[in-house]
């Protein structure tokens, strides 16, 4: 070790040469990096280090929390009363909405052929507070809940407006959360208006997401709401993520450049929720293991089609990924407008003929990505309303009929 007591000075002077020591440390760094990067073998070490450094992080954030506490304590009676009134109003509003929610949930259950309404997908939740804010460069932050509270790696973090991110490293008393706006984070989303599925990637600054895999003729416009699609195994379906702010189409580019603004914002006094989701709920995040298990058996492209079309007691009919976003191929003619999450939005779609032409399964497995979608999604038997193709294509469904088995 290079630093030690003053007594070790002479020893250090006569010890190994600096070049040798540097080589040693460099090799050590590479080994550590490799172990940490490849298989997560240092997860335990990280766990310990996170526990060790947590007091420092608490100490560092103490001025901010002290200020916050002081602010709370010194709040005047009037301010408290005003807040109380506001909260009561909000409570009333939410109660009203919840009443309607009960009815809707029951109706939804009946429509799905279930005897009872589905339980809410969020089973239990835990409030957490920010310990260290995200830095401008790496959009990760630390929260004050860890594995002692039951937090696990890859858990969804929400606030009252939408998805914030997911946990990446979990220590005993703290956990690191990666924001959805981090460039390393990608979240599977669905455009609420059309049901079009795609992936939203962090754009690098705190306020925007990019949708890099939408073809130039995709049906997306500014103001569209993005919500989670339930794929990917972390976030359940149907939670709000962001609103599309700008769509830029370039005639030479095969892909559209789309930006979106996340609903959730993170600052010091934001309240976060760690959520545990029910596994057996149709909207629950698709467990990655079962998805791959399905894919492993037989031809994954053909699996969803095998289901008989008219089955009244299907567990879920909420999504029908007929032709999910053809990521990477901007040259596809037809425009998928799948998704009957809210039939009101999808119903006015003009053409009913293609749905009749297509086989009842309604899915056109053109790419493995698509088939994965349909495997992990629900039974895609609902006929998909397809919009007539954009001007570039002569007939609406050139690919629907021939490929049906």
């Amino acid at each position: 070790m290079a630093f030690g007591t003053p007594g070790s000075r002479s020893q250090a002077r006569g010890g190994p040469s600096p070049g040798f020591r540097f080589t040693l440390y460099a090799v050590l760094s590479f080994v550590v990096m490799f172990l940490d990067q490849r298989h997560g073998w240092l997860e335990q070490v990280r766990y310990g280090l996170q526990a060790l450094t947590y007091p420092v992080q608490l100490a560092v954030s103490s001025p901010a929390s002290a200020w916050k506490w002081l602010h709370e304590v010194s709040e005047t009676r009037d301010a408290l009363r005003a807040e109380n009134a506001r909260l009561r109003d909000q409570d009333r509003l939410l109660a009203l909405r919840a009443m309607r929610y009960e009815a809707l949930a029951r109706e939804n259950g009946e429509l799905r052929g279930l005897r009872d309404a589905l339980p809410p997908v969020a089973e239990r939740w835990l409030a957490a507070e920010l310990v260290i804010q995200p830095t401008p460069l790496r959009q990760r932050f630390l929260i004050n809940r860890g594995s002692t509270n039951g937090v696990f790696k890859g858990q969804a973090v929400l606030d009252d407006k939408g998805i914030i991110g997911q946990t990446t490293h979990v220590g005993p008393f703290s956990a690191e959360v990666i924001l959805i706006t981090d460039p390393e984070h990608a979240i599977p989303v669905q455009i609420e208006r059309t049901g079009l599925r795609t992936i939203a990637v962090g754009a690098g600054d705190t306020t925007s997401l990019a949708l890099p895999y939408l073809p130039g003729n995709a049906d997306v416009k500014a103001g569209d709401m993005l919500m989670t699609s339930g794929l990917g195994g972390v976030f359940p379906a149907g939670y709000p993520v962001a609103r599309v702010t700008e769509v830029h189409r370039d005639a030479v580019q095969p892909l559209a450049q789309v930006r979106a603004l996340p609903f959730a914002t993170v600052d010091t006094d934001s309240e976060l929720m760690l959520v545990w989701f029910r596994d057996d709920h149709p909207a629950s995040p698709t467990p990655a293991s079962t998805a791959t298990g399905d894919l492993r058996t037989g031809n994954p492209k053909l699996q969803p089609q095998a289901a008989p079309p008219p089955r009244p007691k299907a567990p879920a009919t909420e999504t029908s990924p007929a032709a999910p976003p053809p990521a990477g191929t901007g040259a596809r003619n037809s425009e998928p407008s799948s998704g009957t999450v809210n039939p009101a939005a999808a119903a006015p779609s003009k053409s009913r003929a293609p749905a009749a032409v297509k086989s009842p399964d309604g899915s056109t497995p053109a790419k493995p990505a698509n088939s994965k979608d349909s495997v992990s999604g629900d039974n895609p038997r609902a006929a998909t309303p397809r919009e007539p193709a954009p001007p570039a294509t002569p007939e609406p469904s050139p690919d629907a009929t021939p490929r049906n088995p």
Partner: protein, 157 residues
Amino acid sequence: MSSGEPTGRMLVSAFIALLLTVVPLPYWLDIARPSFLILAVLHWSIFAPRAGGIGLGWFSGLLLDVFQGPVLGAHALALAAVTYVFCREHQKIRSKPGFQQSLIVLAGLAAYEVLLFFIDGYSGHPITSPLRWVHILSGAIFWAPATAVLGYRERRS
């Protein structure tokens, strides 16, 4: 450099520098914040290369990894490399006037950041934002006051 190796002061200053490095700041201050821990490490590798040296650099880098890095060992490697060069050339650097020292520190910080950039990219966690380079400049500017504070004892005696 008159009385032994300032190991204790070195560790204390490194700890304080670490706190300053990770303390939450508003957005713009956070971008412009120099990496105080690196400045402290560089100071001690110039003025007390035997006390700290590469080991101090490596362990400080590892701490930075724990606090900020996506991969353990990335900051450690970059900081150990820069510390090695600074320890080797400490006599030349020490004899330079303040302004030139700042320029050398600028080069050192730039080398550190370039190394880290490569490691980040190679390990699949790239930060391509140009803001990551800002702290090099602010670090070079802060070098003079930082080294004045850290070398206060030496200069007095």
